[in-house]
């Protein structure tokens, strides 16, 4: 069986943490696409029913504020992986 020195193991762990951080950042792309799609549909809805503008803005604001949480979760995890390991 191959035995690794502690330095090599440390390097492998560090590389794995950085790789994990990179993978975690993929989760940041999804909310952007989703928010853009929602904005397009909101414009369409306002054009169809201008009286519902206020309602649409509120729903969109709250929806977008909550939707980006997953992106920030991934950011927090990536930063923890980069700076603490």
């Amino acid at each position: 069986m191959v035995e690794f020195s502690p330095e090599v193991i440390d390097t492998i762990i560090r590389a794995a943490a950085l790789l994990g951080a990179g993978f975690a950042m993929i989760a940041g792309i999804g909310p952007g696409i989703g928010q853009g799609y929602a904005a397009g549909k909101a414009v369409e809805s306002v054009a169809r029913d201008p009286e519902a503008r206020g309602n649409i803005i509120t729903t969109m604001l709250l929806g977008q504020a909550v939707a980006e949480s997953t992106g920030i979760y991934s950011l927090v995890i990536a930063i923890v992986l980069i700076f603490t390991i």
Binding site: G28, P31, G32, I33, Q35, G36, Y37, A38, A39, G40, A42, V43, E44, V46, R53, G54, N55, I56, I57, T58, T59, M60, L61, L62, Q64, A65, V66, E68, S69, G71, I72, L75, V76, I79, V80, F83
Partner: protein, 135 residues
């Protein structure tokens, strides 16, 4: 949720509730003498408030555009906001006087309030409809 037709009022209400709830961790960390937690939390909360205002302004601007350009505009602005979140979290990690986790929780406070407000409203509505059914 009252005044759903008035986004400005809803935004103010959310911020008011967020600050009220945030008083609890701020006061308890101050009393415990953990000033880095207080600073980190307030830092995250201030940035979250400013980014909510920015989001509101972006949405108002996007609604005056064409469908495709609004989609692109909001997507690009999201990535800009994401970069700002990144800078805030990096600052919290790098600065010794700011607690990183407290800053992250401060950033999430508005989202927690929105979700819990919706859940409470849902429970209230369900309870009210059950009472109406019983009557």
């Amino acid at each position: 949720m009252k005044d759903i037709d008035n986004p400005h009022k809803v935004q103010k209400e959310i911020l008011k509730k967020t600050y009220l709830i945030s008083l609890l961790p701020i006061i308890s960390s101050l009393l415990a003498g953990e000033y880095d937690i207080t600073l980190g939390f307030v830092f995250g909360l201030v940035i979250a408030t400013l980014l909510l205002r920015l989001k509101y302004n972006n949405i108002i601007r996007a609604l005056s555009m064409e469908e495709e350009s609004a989609e692109k505009f909001i997507r690009n602005r999201y990535f800009l906001e994401y970069a700002l979140y990144f800078l805030v979290l990096i600052t919290a990690v790098r600065h010794a006087r700011l607690n990183f986790l407290a800053a992250a929780v401060g950033l999430f406070m508005i989202k927690f309030v929105v979700i819990s407000w919706s859940v409470i409203d849902l429970i209230k509505d369900t309870f009210q409809s059950k009472i109406d059914e019983y009557k």
